[in-house]
Symmetry: C2
Subunit: 765 residues, 2 copies
C-alpha cells in the first residue's frame, strides 16, 4: 500500500498557495480551496467559470433532492436523498475587447491562488494578456461569513497595467446548477427581482420542495439587467485607467430555513437589506478576528527536531488545514446539520454523514468546541422519529440510526450496509456516553440522551438473538465496521458495543430515576419504558457472547479464524482501490479486513482492555488490514503509539495530515475527506499525546515522534483550557483557564493548575 | 404452511375444463390454458382480447431484449436479458350489429373452455346474446404444431342460432405487444405485406436486434386490408345463415432463427407457402397422433384405493397436466432452448432457466426422452463461452454457469445470487454425470461433456480456498441451495458437489486418455488441460472439508448449528410469502431454511449416503424448512418416502400435481411453475416407486401410498422400455422393448425381461 504524495502547493505554516495553474489539477484545487461556514459551502472554482475542467458547486447544508430506488424487497430503502448544487452566487463574466475571460483559452501569467487560514479568505490573481497586447491584472477574493452564516462576500479587483479603456463586467446569480452525477438541474419555479444594484432570487427543488433564497448587492454604478429563465446578471461597462485599480464587490445572502412557510422571500429581502449596510472591509476584519480566536484555542503547533524541518513544515501546514476544514464544515449551532463525509466540498457521498460523526469526529469537538459536540448529538435527537421509522421498516422496535443520511432518513441504497450495520446506532449511544462523560452535561442526558438510549436499546433488544449453541445473546447477520465481511454472526464489535449500550441505557434510567425523577416520569410517559424493560437489557448485556481466547485474542466474528489468508502486502499497488479492481464478492471471503473492527472497539473503550489484550489483537489484525477506509490508519496509529510501536505509528500516521493536500488517494478532486481530517487531529492528540477520554479521569501518555522537537496544543475541558507542551524529555501541562484538575499522566495522577507541571517522558514505551 | 386449493376446473382424466368464465380468475386461466411446443408458446388469452383482465402473451423461445443494470461494483451483472411478448397471431375482432365481441362487456351464456391433453388443443365456446336478441354461438380452437414447431393454428366457428345476417370478422397479426412489467413494446422496424388471404410481417427487437417473421394464411373470401404501424388485419363481412356454422381458419408460421442473416423474410415466405398446403384437419389429426404416441410412453396412471376416488381423480388429472406441460415446454431438438422456470407461459422470471434444469427437470427427460436430456446439456455446451466470460468477470478461471439465463449470459441482477451460487456449475457437471450414467452415451462425454467438466473444474479450483483453521479446502463466501443464508463458508452442499465435480472431471480425463485418445488430444489442444491440472483437482477433492458429525448430522455451513432458532410452524399463514412480509435481512439470520440444502445433496447422490445419515439429517432439517421454493416439498417427500415416513411423504406430496391447477401459491396468474411440475413427476417416480438412478444399477423401492390402488408408468432406459405396475402387495416389472436388464428392487437384484416379474412389497419400510 505505497501511497504517494502529489505535492502541488507551497509549504507555509498558514497558507495554501498554488503558483501557476495546472488544468489537469483543476478539480483537486477546487476541493482544496473549498470554503465553508457549516451553513453554506463553495468549491474553489473560478468565479468566471470557463472551459477549464470543473465541478462547479455551491452547496447549502440540508438542501437535497430525492430519487427512487428500484427496490426488490421489504426493508430495502425505497428513496434516497442527496445534496445538490444550489444557487451559483459567484457567477461572473469579464470581457476585454473581443476576448472573454476564460483561463482555458486566454493567455495569462503570474497565476497565484492562496487560501489564508488565519483569515479564512481565498484569493486568486493573475495578469491577463490579450491578443492585442493589453495587460489586465485581476484579483478575486471571497470568503464566507463564519458568524452570519447566510452571508458570503466576493471582491474582484481589476487593474489595467498598460492601457486605459473599457472592460465589461457581468455579475449575477443563477439556479441553473446541474448535479454532475445525475445530470439534472434540481431547481424549478424561480422567482427573480433585480434592479441596478441588486438581484433577489428564490427557487424550489423538484421533489423535496425545499425553497432557497439568494440575494446579492453588487456595487455597480450603471448596470443593465439581463435575465434568463433561472438566472439574472447585472452588466456594466467600466472605464479603467492605467495603474488605477477598480473593484466591484458583491455581498451575498443565501437563506434556507427548511420550513414550508411563505416567509422566505421576506426574510431574504431583510437579510439582503442588512448586508447592504455592512462594508466588505468590516466583514473581512470580523472574519479575521473569528479565525484568530479560533486558532488561539484550537491550534496544534509542531516544531521539528533537527534535520526534519521540511517534513514537519508539511505536517504543520497539513494539520492546520485539517483543523481549518473541520471548523469550516461544522461548528455547531444547528440541529439540522451534521458532518458529511465530504462536508460541503463536492457531490461524492451525496453530502451524507456516516457513523464517522460519533466515532471519529466527536472527540475533536468535545475538546475544542463542546457546544458543537452537543449540537451533533441533538441532530440525532431531532432525527429520532426517522430512526424509529427505519427500525419499523426492518421489523424491529425502537430506533435504528442510518448508515448514510443528510436529513435523518436512511439514504444508503445498498441493503447490506443499510440493513446489517448496527454501528450507527451504537455509535450514537457511545457519543452520548462520551459527551456526558467529558462535559458532565447531565441536563442533556436527562432531556435528550436518555430518550435516544431507550429507543436504541429497544432496537438492539429486538435485533439480538440467542445462539442455539452458545446459549448466549449475539447479533446475527450483521456487517461490523469491517465492511469486507457481511452477514456475519457474533461480530465482536457489534456484540460488545451492543452490550455496553444496553447496560448504559439501563444505568441512565437508574440515574434519571434517582436524580431527575421529573425527567424520568416524563420519559416513562413518552416512551412507556419500564423498569422491567431495563432489566431485560441488563440481563441481555450480562449474557452477551464475546468470543475472546485465553490469550486475549478476540475473533472478529464467528468463523473468522478459519477464513483463508490473504497476504495484504502481496497485493500490487495497481490493484487499489480493490473495489475498482477486484470482483465484489472476491474482496469478501478471506481474512483481509477493510478497517479496524476488533481494534475499533479497543480504541473506543480503550481503558476497558488491558495492554496485553490490545497488543495481542493489534499484532493479529494489523497485518490483515488493508485500510481501504481513510479513517483506518489513524486508529491503528493511535494503538501502535500506545503499544510503543512508534515506527509503525509514524508509518500509519504518514499522510494523515496531508491526505487531501497531496491527493494521496487520487480522489481529492471529488471533495475533501472531512471525517478523515478529524481523525488526523485524533491521531496527534490521542496518538502522540496519548489522550484517553473513556476512563475515570482524562489520561495523557505523551510519546513524541522522533522527528518532532515539540508539540503544543490546547484542550477545552469542563470550563478549563488545558495547554499541553510536549518536548523530548518532558511534557508541560498548564491550565490557562479554569479550576485545578486531576488527570492521569502515564500511570500517575497529576493535578493541573495555572502553573506549569512538567512530567518526564516515559522512556519505556 | 397451510396452502389451500382453489378448485376451479372440472376433474377429468384427460381434460381441463372451465365451465363459465370468472373474470377474477382470468389470468389464472390464461396460464393454465397455455399452449406451447418448445419453440413458441401462447397464454390461454382470448383471441378477441377485450376488457377482461389479461396478460396477453405469445412468446418465442430465445427471443428477448436487454436492459442495463445500475451496477455498483465489479463482477455484478451490468446488463440483463428478458423474454418479451412477440407477434400476436391470435389477433381477432368480431362485431355483430353495433356490438363488439368483448366478454367483459357483452351478454353471453354457456361459456366452456377446455384443454384436451390427448390432442393438445384448446377449445372455447359460448353463446353471445346481443342487446337486439340475436344469439351467436362462437367456438375457438387453437393448437401449436408439436412437430413443425413454427406452425400454429386457429379456427373460429360462428353459428347464428336465431337469425340470419351479416357479422364482421377481422383477423390479423401485430407486433404491438407491450411487456407488462417494463411497460414497453420492444418491437421496431416492422415490414408488412398483406393481400386478401395472407399477411406477412417481420420486426426487430430494440436492443438485442433479433428478427422475427410471422405469417398467416386466413381463408377469407373478400377481405379488406387494414394496416397499422406494427399491425395488419384482414376484415371480412360474412353472411351467416341460421343454423349453418361458418368457420374461418388461420394458419400461422412464426420464425426466429437467431442468425443475423438477411434470409429470414424469404424463409418466412417459404414456410407460409408450405402451411398453405396443409389443411387444418390434417394438422389437427397429426397433432392428436403426436400426443397419442407421447402418452403411450410417458403416461402415469393411478387407480384409487376404495374411498379415495375423488382425491385420486384429481391427482390423475394433475400429474397428466404436469407431464403435458413439461412436454409442451421442452422436448428437445434445439441447443438454443432451455427450460424457463415459467416456460413460455408468462413474463415472470423473465423466461429464465435456473439450475433447476439439471437438478430437477433432467430425470424426467432422462427416462422419457433421453435425446431431449442430451439437448439440454448441449445448451450448456453451446453457452460455454458465456460461462467462461462470466468466470472472468468474477476474477476466476474456467466456466461459471449462470444462475438465471435465457441465452447463456448471467441475467440475475442480484449479486448475492449471481456471484455466490456455485450450484449452477456443479449442477451442469452433475447433469453430465447423470446423463452419461443413464444413457452410456460416451460419445457425448468425449465430444462435449469433458470440455465442460474441465472448465467447471477450473472454475472450482480458482474459487476454492484453504481454510486457515481446518487446513482443508472449502468454498468461502457462497450461497448454497438454501437461499436464506448467503455469504456462508463451507456450505456442505457446495463443498460436496465441488468435490464430486473435481473428481469426476479428473476421472473423465482418465477415461478419455484411455478410451478415446484422439478426443483426449483434441481436448488438451483446445483447453491446454494437463495431467498435473487434473492431479490438483483430485488432490483438492481428497482434501475437501465436509462437516459431518459423529452421528451423521451434517452442518449446512459453518456456524449453522449456532443460529438462533425459528419455529417455522409458528409463523402465521398471513406472513407468506416471507419475502413480501418480512424485511429482507430478517429472513436470513436464523436456522430457518428456504429449501433443501444438505438434503438436496442426499437426494442427488442418494446411494452415496447411508440410511442412517439420511434419517438423521432429514429429521434435523425437515422441521427447519419453510419450503418457499416450490421445488422444495418434492425433495423432502422423496426422502420421507425412502425413510418410510409415508404420512409426511404424502403431506409433502400434497399439492405437487395440482400446484397450478388449483393455484396453491396464488401466483399461477403469472405463469405456470414448470420446473416444479418436473418435480411432481419425480415425486411419484423417485418417491413412491423409489427409483434411484445414481447407483451402479437402477434401483426401485416401491412404496405405494395408501390412497392408491395401483400406480403404472413406463421408463425409457438404454433402448428399453420398462413398464412398472405397482399394487398394494407387489410390483410387476416388465420390459415392453429391449434386452434383459438387471435392476435392484429393494435390496435384491432382479433381471427384467419381456415377461412380468412380480416383486412383493417391502412391508418394513
Amino acid at each position: 500500500m505505497a501511497k504517494v504524495a502529489n505535492i502541488h502547493y507551497s509549504v507555509d505554516p498558514w497558507k495554501i498557495t498554488e503558483n501557476g495553474f495546472d488544468a489537469n489539477y483543476s478539480r483537486v484545487g477546487e476541493s482544496v480551496f473549498s470554503l465553508g461556514n457549516e451553513s453554506i459551502g463553495v468549491r474553489g472554482c473560478f468565479d468566471e467559470g470557463g472551459s477549464v475542467d470543473s465541478l462547479r458547486g455551491a452547496y447549502i447544508n440540508g438542501v437535497y433532492d430525492l430519487a427512487d430506488i428500484d427496490r426488490s424487497y421489504r426493508g430495502i430503502v425505497e428513496k434516497v436523498h442527496f445534496m445538490i448544487p444550489a444557487a451559483d452566487w459567484l457567477d461572473t463574466a469579464i470581457s476585454l475587447d473581443s476576448e472573454t475571460l476564460d483561463l482555458g483559452r486566454i493567455r495569462y501569467r503570474d497565476f497565484v491562488r492562496e487560501l489564508d487560514m488565519r483569515t479564512g479568505t481565498l484569493t486568486r490573481s493573475f495578469i491577463w494578456e490579450t491578443v492585442g497586447g493589453k495587460e489586465l491584472k485581476l484579483t478575486f477574493i471571497r470568503f464566507l461569513d463564519m458568524v452570519h452564516r447566510e452571508r458570503a462576500y466576493q471582491r474582484i479587483t481589476l487593474e489595467a497595467l498598460n492601457f486605459s479603456g473599457p472592460v465589461e463586467i457581468q455579475s449575477g446569480l443563477s439556479f441553473q446548477a446541474v448535479h454532475e452525477g445525475r445530470k439534472t438541474c434540481f431547481w424549478r419555479r424561480p422567482r427573480c427581482e433585480a434592479d441596478k444594484n441588486r438581484i433577489a432570487m428564490q427557487a424550489e427543488t423538484l421533489r423535496s420542495e425545499q425553497e432557497v433564497f439568494v440575494g446579492a448587492a453588487i456595487d455597480f454604478k450603471n448596470a443593465e439587467i439581463v435575465s434568463g429563465e433561472k438566472s439574472a446578471r447585472l452588466c456594466a461597462t467600466v472605464s479603467l485607467k492605467e495603474g488605477e485599480p477598480y473593484s466591484v464587490e458583491k455581498r451575498v445572502v443565501i437563506l434556507f430555513d427548511g420550513s414550508k412557510q411563505d416567509t422566505l422571500w421576506e426574510s431574504g429581502e431583510n437579510a439582503l437589506r442588512e448586508i447592504e449596510r455592512v462594508s466588505f472591509e468590516d466583514a473581512a476584519a470580523a472574519q479575521a478576528a473569528y479565525w484568530n480566536a479560533y486558532w488561539s484555542v484550537s491550534d496544534i503547533v509542531i516544531e521539528p527536531a533537527d534535520g526534519n524541518e521540511n517534513t514537519v513544515a508539511q505536517e504543520q501546514q497539513g494539520i492546520r488545514f485539517c483543523s481549518f476544514q473541520l471548523a469550516q464544515t461544522y461548528n455547531g449551532g444547528s440541529m439540522r446539520h451534521n458532518i458529511g463525509a465530504k462536508g460541503l466540498t463536492g457531490e461524492a457521498y451525496n453530502g451524507h454523514a456516516f457513523w464517522d460523526t460519533e466515532s471519529c469526529c466527536l472527540p475533536f469537538y468535545l475538546f475544542t468546541n463542546p457546544d458543537a459536540a452537543k449540537d451533533l448529538l441533538l441532530f440525532r435527537y431531532h432525527t429520532l422519529p426517522m430512526a424509529k421509522n427505519r427500525a419499523k421498516m426492518l421489523d424491529c422496535r425502537g430506533a435504528c440510526y442510518p448508515i448514510a443520511t443528510l436529513n435523518g432518513d436512511e439514504a444508503c441504497p445498498l441493503w447490506q450496509h443499510a440493513s446489517l450495520q448496527l454501528q450507527p446506532s451504537t455509535a450514537v449511544a457511545y457519543g452520548i456516553w462520551h459527551y456526558v462523560r467529558i462535559t458532565e452535561d447531565r441536563e442533556f442526558l436527562y432531556r435528550y440522551g436518555a430518550e435516544m438510549l431507550v429507543e436504541i436499546a429497544r432496537f438492539l433488544e429486538s435485533r439480538v438473538a440467542l445462539g442455539s449453541r452458545t446459549k448466549q445473546y449475539g447479533f446475527y447477520g450483521v456487517m461490523g465496521p469491517d465492511e469486507f465481511h457481511l452477514m456475519v454472526n457474533n461480530n465482536a464489535y457489534t456484540n460488545y458495543m451492543g452490550m455496553r449500550t444496553l447496560r448504559y441505557a439501563a444505568e441512565a434510567l437508574d440515574e434519571l430515576r434517582e436524580h431527575a425523577p421529573d425527567c424520568y416520569e416524563a420519559l416513562c410517559e413518552k416512551t412507556s419504558v419500564t423498569k422491567a424493560e431495563a432489566g431485560r437489557w441488563r440481563s441481555i448485556a450480562d449474557n452477551m457472547y464475546l468470543p475472546i481466547c485465553k490469550d486475549g485474542l478476540i475473533e472478529q466474528h464467528d468463523g473468522f479464524f478459519d477464513l483463508p489468508h490473504t497476504d495484504v502486502d502481496a497485493i500490487p499497488v495497481t490493484e487499489f482501490p480493490l473495489y475498482a479492481h477486484w470482483s465484489y464478492d472476491r474482496i469478501y471471503r478471506t481474512d483481509m479486513i477493510k478497517q479496524p473492527d476488533v481494534l475499533m472497539m479497543l480504541y473506543l473503550y480503550n481503558s476497558s482492555f488491558s495492554e496485553a489484550v490490545k497488543r495481542r489483537n493489534y499484532d493479529y489484525y494489523q497485518p490483515r488490514t488493508i485500510h481501504e477506509s481513510s479513517l483506518s490508519p489513524a486508529i491503528h496509529s493511535i494503538l501502535a503509539a500506545e503499544l510503543g510501536q512508534m515506527k509503525e505509528a509514524m508509518d500509519l500516521f504518514g499522510f494523515a495530515t496531508r491526505l487531501d493536500l497531496d491527493d494521496y488517494n487520487r480522489n481529492t478532486r471529488e471533495g475533501l475527506h472531512i471525517t478523515s481530517i478529524a481523525m488526523a487531529w485524533a491521531n496527534i492528540v490521542y496518538g502522540f499525546a496519548g489522550l484517553r477520554s473513556d476512563g475515570d479521569l482524562l489520561r495523557f501518555a505523551p510519546r513524541l515522534p522522533d522527528r518532532w522537537k515539540t508539540l503544543r496544543f490546547s484542550l477545552t475541558y469542563r470550563g478549563r483550557v488545558i495547554d499541553v507542551q510536549m518536548a523530548r524529555d518532558a511534557t508541560v501541562f498548564r491550565l490557562s483557564a479554569g479550576e485545578p484538575l486531576a488527570v492521569r499522566v502515564y500511570d500517575g495522577i497529576v493535578t493541573l493548575t495555572e502553573r506549569n507541571v512538567s512530567i518526564p517522558a516515559n522512556k519505556q514505551s
